[in-house]
Amino acid sequence: MSECILVVDDDREIVKAISILLEGEGYEVLKAYDGMQALDVLATHPVRLVLIDVMMPKLDGLSALMRIREKQNIPVIVLSAKSEDTDKVLGLSMGADDYVAKPYNPQELAARVKSQLRRYTCLGDIHAGSRIGEIRNGRLLYRTDEKVLYADGEPVKLTAKETGIVDLFMRNPGRVFPAEEIYRRVWDEDAFASENTVMVHIRRIREKMELNPKEPEYLKVVWGIGYKMEKH
């Protein structure tokens, strides 16, 4: 059976575009054009995920989000034209699971929907304690004994060097590693012109595990210092 997704936006064309996109991915899509309608639909249909715009008539997205959170724990992705960091922080702190800025990249949106749904349906509670030999960080899971990285529960195929880098980062989330150190520890050689090499690898890893490799959420550059795995 296909999963039911509620798309809420006052711009009907956007709702339509998203529904075409998501139906193409095989989901069933319900539509609503303001916050009140969204709440009505949620009350009557078994919705698995909500995509909601912020600026809407009658009831804005964030208020609707708070009302949804009073009753349901389904994943909610906020979709907004406001792309500032402060807006993102506000949306996430109000209970959103993800925040996508407009104009969105269709592939990225589809990937995020997929990711959220998988985490919600397959993995259950993300706050569950990790088992021994497992390192969990957001939608990533790294099994140290097998040296396998899972993104949204699916194993990510990595080369040996990439696995070495991922191993280093997953074991030390939040810590910033200079390129030289990464090179020394993974390649086990003295670093020389390491920046480009490391960067190439990191970019490849990102392409494999990030939803939008151009705006990475996990493997980030700390400009002028090094690289780090963001903690989620």
């Binding site: 711009d11 064309e13 956007i14 575009a17 998203i18 075409i20 996109l21 600026m55 034209a81 406001k82 792309s83 960091d85 402060t86 407009k102 104009p103 969105y104 269709p106 200079p178 390129a179 920046e195 480009n196 490391v198 960067m199 190439v200 550059v221 700390v222 400009w223 002028g224 210092i225 090094g226």
Partner: protein, 870 residues
Amino acid sequence: MDTKWKSIKKVLCFVVFFLGVSLTIWNASGLLRRMPEKLSYWRTGNLLEDDYQQTWSFQNYMTNRLESFLSVAVNGCPGNWYYYGSGYFDSGWSDELYSWEEELALREAEATEMQGTEIWEGTDWDYYGYWDDWGYDGNDWEYWYERYDGTDPGDRENLTEEQKRRLELLEQRKQKLVEKYFADIKGDLNLLYSISYDGKLLYSNSDVLAAEGSVQLPEGYNFLLYFDGEKVRIVKDGKEIDIYGDGYYRDDSNDWYVPGYRNFPVDEDMKKAVICMAAAEEPLLYTTGMDNSGGYRQQNNSLYWMRYNSIMDGKLLRWNLIGLTAGLALLFFSCLCRKGIRESAEKIAYIQGKIWVECKVLLLLAVLYAGWRECRMSGYGYGIWKELAYAYDYQWEVLSEYGGILLSELRYMSPLFWSALFWVIWLSWNDLRHNRKGWRHGLIAKCGRTISAREIKLPMARRMVRRNAVLFVAIIVSGILVLVGTLAAVDYGAWRYYNVWSILLWCVLITACFFLAAYLVGAKNIKAARDMDVLSGRIDEICRGNYSGFYEDGNCGSGMVSGDTGDAFLSGSGSAAGSGGTPGNGSTVENSAAHNLAIQGGGASSGKGAVEEDAALWGSDLSRTMAQLENIRQGMAGAVDEQMKSERMKVELIANVSHDLKTPLTSIISYVQFLKNEEGLPEHVQDYVKILDEKSQRLKNMVQDVFAVSKAASGELPMNMEMLDFGKLLRQTMADMDEEIQNSRVSFRTELPQEPVMIMADGQRMYRVFQNLFQNALKYSLDGSRVYVTLKADGKLAVASVKNTSHMELDEDKNFTERFVRGDKSRTDGGSGLGLSIAQSFTEACGGRFELEFNADLFIVKISFGIAGG
């Protein structure tokens, strides 16, 4: 009607209160004044009986006469019996208690024939003339004899011729004195007398009175005093009075001071004397014609005046009692309408407030002075000030005695004075209670204001100099006065204390005045200094860019502003302070209104502003400067507000526009995506879709860039500053852009130091800066040329430069960092035109320097940061 009645009632209440208080005080003091000295003689009943023979004065008069007659009978000459108000008996010619001045005054009084009005023994000029002849301070005849012969006065045989001659003279004069004495009292038939000695009748002014102890009284006489050589008998209205009681005389009792007591026995000489005196029931006024001078001469008439006084006193006493009762009753009634009195008092205070304070002070002083004068003039004692001086002299040892005298002094003040004193005090109290700043309405205060107003026109420095000069003079003058006062006190001190009091008093008063002046000036200076402090603090704040109002802002040190300054300040800018705190929409109108008001307050203009300004000038030196500063502050605050507002509006506008652009853009991108994914489109349609896709992506980038750059320009960009390695940043950026660089037709040459070059910056923003610079270089470089990226650190400054050769001619006049300026005018290439602008904004927001240089076709960007220490 109702209100009229109310006001009438109010007035009535006050009138009742006024009358009650006045009557009570008037009559109470009158009663006290008329009350005899010794309370034991206070016999209200007698006073009301109108019987003068029951009074102390009469008893005194009769005993005096008896003593005189006895003296005449025994010695041949009357003693000079003085009567004192306090009831002492004394004999002799002189009395230490009287000073010369007062004696002379007395003599003059005697010379104007004021006989009988006082209870003095009949004396006149001649009488005193004898006394002058004897001129010594000898107290009695015995003493005088001793001085002249040095022997026993009885032993007159052994006198020298000269002594005998003088004794003869003395005897003659004594005889003359006796004759004069009896001539004086003979005509006064209110007192009949007969004096016998050794069985021989010496003097008498009546045929009826025999000296044989007969108690037969003539018609019209009801009082008989008979001395038979042993005892005194008194018969009044046919009844005999027991005068000896238990046989002992007591000074403090009502006993008659006559011989015959066990402790006041009759001596041998007196035993031969028989004296009989009769007093008229209703004394008459006896007058004889003076043939030689053509006038009339009143006889002694002591008893007539005594009765007259007694009756008058009785009447007055009765009136006093009635008045006191009425006054107390009125007071009681006035207690019932206290509200009316209070309102009247307020009304009176209002009227009082209109009167110059100097007038009030003068009135108060006048009443006090009148009281002082009266104290000095009251017939008894020496005046209150001398009594005080004596009391001080005796170290207050005899305070009880002097206290009594002081009290009696106060008693003799007139009722009018007491009433006036009360009302003056009441009015002063009323004034002080209701008119809090009453002292400001007066001539001196007005002068002060005028002077201040004139002074305020002078420059600040001149004002200060002048004020300090006044202070200096005041201190010097007061110092001199204190010195003079001290010297005077030391010089005159011990023995002439009468003068020193007044000198000291004046010195103290004038010194106090000067101290007051010094205090006032000093206080003004201190206040000016405080105001200066506030002012400089204020200027400091404005310099630091705190344009908020003075009063709504707690940390502006408004607590330091003294009350008057506050008033002055608010008078100029009250509404400005109100509107200054709300820099929202529509505050322009309010601001300009506030400006007008403040200007009005600053420049002396008419109307209410001028009055307030007057008050302000009286209060503070710097109020005008404050107002001007406030004006400037408001102007600046307004300008800054305006600027901030327009900047904010611009950002808001851009944010809104970019949001509004993003929404349709989202649809466009989405549907272009669908089109792109559509299969089976004709080739040319696929081309169209591709162009649509490119342009929509470019539009997206532009919208984001516009938003970022406008935010950066308005200073609202959130920054996350941290220590980072400049060189690593460049390497990372190039690594990040490696793909683009590899695909381009230019190559990069780098010259970066291996060791870290630490700077303080926001890494994300700086990444954006170099990304833009590198993209520019890739876009506008000549094909096949090289881009040089270098970083140099010279210990303090880290300079990164990006050099590339432009593929087209650079226009020297063009400002490339201006927004939307691009290398080509056609604007058909891919950029948003914001690349350099963003680079510059972000660099500057991070605290770095952004420089552009052209050299022919060489395009150089230099970005420099201070190297962070440690």
